[in-house]
């Protein structure tokens, strides 16, 4: 029995129909095999569309129609799981195999208490009832490092933080001491600082209870920290598998190599990501010319391009009959300057006020206190409307969400040049060719300018967004987490593009991100923010190598450590 693996998957294929007749199918999983021994933590890594989550669902018979398991074998302790009845699966789920979802807030039922949901799982999978079940539930929560466990049972999911909810999901998953847990992106939805400790809890539970884990993630850092063995997937196909160290340090496949090269490192700043980029075959000369025309007109003084003085933002919810006025201070007296051609990064967790600063600079948010001096002038004091407009247009933004940053009803080209046309900054008949020029400049095809946004991938849409901001020949671009919604390889490509553009046109960037490693790669100077305050403002190297503030140190410590990632 000892050499029977806990779980063994052979040649698993799962398809989704692409049309209603089912003649055309997408293979979400194509001939996948894997093996888990008891107590082992294995990782499945891949970018979106790799089919990682489908594996977990297929094992437990949770594939949502129209997904269909077409062929292959899944054996758990030697017994086949393919074609089990719903009742047979019920006795397996929770009892033998636990499941952990990416987003604990949607996995827990909003109208049932935590207690009801934990006890329900206990009663379904063990003999414990009533008071015993209740006590066991408290024990489970404590084991999953939930503080005040007894009180928490009375709460509803929306009253607890995401991290706590995920720990409760852990407690539910281990309730029946299963032999295997499938964890689907267990920390992705959580804040950076809690990710690490939640992950530690999962590993601790696995070791204490001798539970094997299949950890599904897109995050190489998480894999490096936790897994003994890793499978790399792409588009539903197997790419590479080996012990984690080997895959990370000596990948044998091109895709894995590219993936490793795309992971932004925190240890040192690279000039560019070492990717095998396809050459841009489009003619970029006219686009280059368009942008360079502007550069010559610039005066080069020594004063900073942008100066932020004692900037504060207080959000106020107005008082009503029964509610007193409530206020929330998002930004507290922040000062910094940005020199021409410099890239300044702002890093912080969600709610630290980092995006609000950018929105105030751009005029999307009113300034509560303080001032923004741009090109030597306070925007608030400019009364001439033409000058004011020129001022505004020279500040642009690259947004976070590629799926909402373009007007879905306008073609890519129209999105890029619409504003220019409105302000009569370009002739209507020249707008089309300018859009094409700019698209070629950001690595898109000229002929795609007529397509609507939905025809483009996430990374391509971000490029359209960059082209749109370049169209105004801006002096300053605010980058609001421009890559946080993208896969790591797409991110690396986009960051390379930004680095290139920055170099070519000596752009001035204010780069906001929650990801320390991205900030490390992109910025000359870094501001660390927490709860609306700027805690530290220093050069890139100083922040990452000799952080002065305790919070900065704790942020750096919370980053997954992985030594010896393949370097090129």
């Amino acid at each position: 029995m000892n050499n029977t693996p806990l779980l063994k998957i052979n040649n698993l294929t799962v398809t989704y129909p692409l049309n209603s007749e089912g003649s055309d199918v997408l293979k979400a999983l194509d001939n996948i095999s894997l093996k888990v021994n008891s107590g082992q933590i294995i990782g499945i890594v891949g970018e979106s569309g790799a089919g990682k989550s489908t594996i977990g669902k297929a094992i437990l018979g949770l594939l949502d129609p129209p997904a269909k398991l077409v062929s292959g074998e899944i054996r758990f302790l030697g017994n086949s799981l393919v074609g089990l009845s719903e009742a047979q699966f019920e006795s397996l789920r929770g009892n033998q195999i636990g499941y952990i979802y990416q987003n604990p807030m949607t996995a827990l039922n909003p109208v049932l208490t935590i207690g009801e949901q934990v006890i329900e799982a206990i009663e379904a999978n063990t003999d414990m009832r009533g008071k015993n079940a209740q006590e066991y539930a408290i024990q489970l929560l404590e084991r999953a490092d939930v503080s005040f466990a007894e009180d928490r049972l009375q709460k509803y999911p929306h009253q607890l933080s995401g991290g706590l909810c995920q720990r409760i999901v852990f407690a539910i998953a281990i309730a029946a001491k299963p032999k295997l847990i499938i964890a689907d992106e267990p920390t992705t939805a959580l804040d950076v600082t809690v990710q690490q400790s939640v992950l530690q809890t999962l590993i601790k539970l696995s070791q204490q209870e001798q539970i094997a884990i299949i950890l599904i993630t897109h995050d190489i850092g998480v894999i490096a920290e936790t897994c003994d063995y890793v499978y790399v997937l792409r588009y539903g196909k197997h790419v590479e598998q080996d012990a984690t160290n080997k895959v990370l340090q000596r990948p044998t496949q091109d895709y894995t190599r590219a993936l490793m090269a795309s992971v932004p490192l925190i240890e040192k700043r690279l000039h560019r990501f070492a990717l095998n980029e396809e050459d841009n075959l489009e003619d970029t000369s006219t686009g280059l010319h368009y942008l360079q025309e502007k550069q010559t007109t610039q005066d080069s003084t020594n004063e900073p391009l942008l100066e932020v003085r004692n900037l504060s933002k207080i959000f106020i919810t107005p008082s009503s009959m029964l509610k007193a006025k409530q206020s929330f201070t998002a930004v507290k007296g922040v000062n910094f300057t940005v020199q021409r051609g410099e890239t300044v990064g702002i890093v912080g967790e969600s709610g630290s006020g980092k995006s609000t600063i950018g929105r105030m600079i751009l005029g999307l948010e009113d300034i509560t206190e303080g001032s923004v001096i741009y090109r030597g002038k306070d925007l608030k004091l400019i009364t001439d409307s033409t000058e004011r407009r020129a001022h505004c247009l020279s500040m642009q933004c690259i947004f976070q969400d590629p799926y909402s940053s373009l007007n879905p009803r306008m073609s890519a080209g129209e999105n890029i040049t619409y504003g220019l046309k409105i302000h009569n900054l370009i002739d209507n008949n020249k707008a089309g060719s300018l859009a094409q020029d700019l698209m070629s400049l950001v690595g898109l095809k000229r002929k795609d300018a007529d397509k609507l946004p939905h025809a483009f991938s996430g990374g391509e849409r971000q490029r359209i967004g960059i082209a749109r901001s370049l169209a105004y020949r801006p002096d300053f671009i605010f980058c609001d987490e421009p890559t946080s919604a993208l896969d790591v390889s797409v991110q690396a490509n986009l960051l390379n593009l930004l680095k290139d553009l920055q170099e070519q046109f000596s752009l001035t960037l204010l780069f906001v991100s929650h990801d320390l490693a991205v900030i490390r790669q992109m910025c000359d100077r870094v501001i660390v923010m927490k709860d609306g305050e700027a805690l530290e403002n220093d050069s890139n190297d100083n922040i990452f190598e000799q952080p002065k503030h305790a919070y900065t140190r704790s942020l750096l410590e919370a980053m997954p450590k992985f030594q010896g990632l393949a370097q090129y």
Binding site: E90, N103, T106, A107, N109, V111, H158, V169, L322, K323
Partner: protein
């Protein structure tokens, strides 16, 4: 929770005042009661006398306050046609409306919701498709046409059930009810079914779409992943969540029932307040119309308030709203 209730109560109060203002000014200002009450033989002087008699020479707000003041003391004026206090007239007719509306509600909920949940869960089954087709036909058929068909089939051809009137009534708590006798129940059957058909169709459709939306929430899959049995998931996770939209809709539909009872009562000559309203509109009995609309408004405001409170009770996310 208490703050939430107070807030709702405050909203309800405002709503009640605004509605009563609209009804009052709509009926007393936009329409001219003197014109409506007078006929061709009236002289100008008669009209002026009538206006003074009705208090119409006074400023608008004074009229409103006089009326509102009287209303608070239970004085809704006197019916032109029946020459009796309006409140008395309405209270006398109210039990008849309450009993068929309630019966229709019970029939509607107890058939419509189970059908809806069933067809939501078994969305692609033949049975579900047949049910959904019938409910589509049902709610596409105007209420009055259903009534005509019911009368033709059950009263004229089959002669099983009476088609008009309330039949025998018996007294309970000093109020006359029809449902206490077989004859009364027979008279109630057709109007109640008429009102219920629409309810059944509506509830089936709402429960069906609600069920489907909830079935595809991630917590439903997670509940399955926890190893909970299918029946228990439906009993607990599905029903608890689906109750929220159903309670809301049901509450609002009480209003719809009262509204449609005007049609049903008229066709079946059921002596409820709906028929009273329609008769009063035809006979231009303004005090009754105004009183009816104001009372109904207050009732809607109250129902909305109850629904909001129940909503908070069922949905912890609202209960804990700061």
């Amino acid at each position: 929770m208490i703050r939430y209730i107070l807030k709702r109560l405050w909203h309800s109060g405002i709503l009640a005042i605004v509605m009563s203002l609209i009804v009052f000014f709509g009926l007393y200002v936009v329409g001219d009661p003197v014109e409506m009450l007078s006929d061709d033989e009236f002289t100008e002087q008669d009209k002026i006398d009538l206006a003074i008699e009705l208090g119409l020479d006074k400023p608008l707000f004074e009229q409103y306050f006089t009326y509102a003041g009287g209303m608070l003391q239970g004085d809704f004026g006197t019916s032109f046609v029946h020459n009796r206090p309006v409140l008395e007239l309405i209270l006398e007719r109210l039990p008849a409306t309450i009993e068929i509306s309630l019966l229709a509600m019970i029939i509607g909920l107890s058939i419509g919701i189970p059908l809806g949940i069933f067809s939501g869960i078994k969305n692609n089954s033949r049975a579900s498709k047949i049910i959904s087709f019938f409910t589509t036909v049902g709610y596409s058929t105007p209420n009055f046409w259903q009534a005509i068909i019911l009368i033709m089939v059950f009263a004229v051809f089959l002669q099983w059930l009476p088609a008009s009137g309330r039949g025998l009534t018996n007294s309970m708590f000093g109020i006359e009810w029809a449902w206490l006798s077989l004859n009364g129940l027979q008279h109630m059957a057709l109007p109640a079914i008429n009102l219920a058909i629409y309810k059944i169709c509506m509830q089936q459709r709402l429960a069906k779409s609600g069920t489907q939306e909830i079935l595809y929430q991630e917590y439903m899959t997670f509940a399955r992943a926890k190893g909970i049995s299918r029946n228990r998931i439906i009993r607990r996770h599905l029903l608890r969540n689906i109750l929220i939209p159903i309670v809301t809709i049901t509450g609002l539909e009480v209003g719809g029932l009262i509204a449609f009872s005007t049609v049903t009562e008229t066709i079946f000559s059921w002596p409820g307040i709906g028929k009273l309203l329609l008769d009063s509109i035809h006979m231009i009995d303004r005090p009754v119309v105004v009183a009816y609309l104001i009372l109904i408004t207050m009732m809607f405001v109250f129902i909305n308030f109850v629904v909001d409170v129940m909503y908070a009770f069922l949905d912890p996310r609202i209960r804990h709203q700061k």
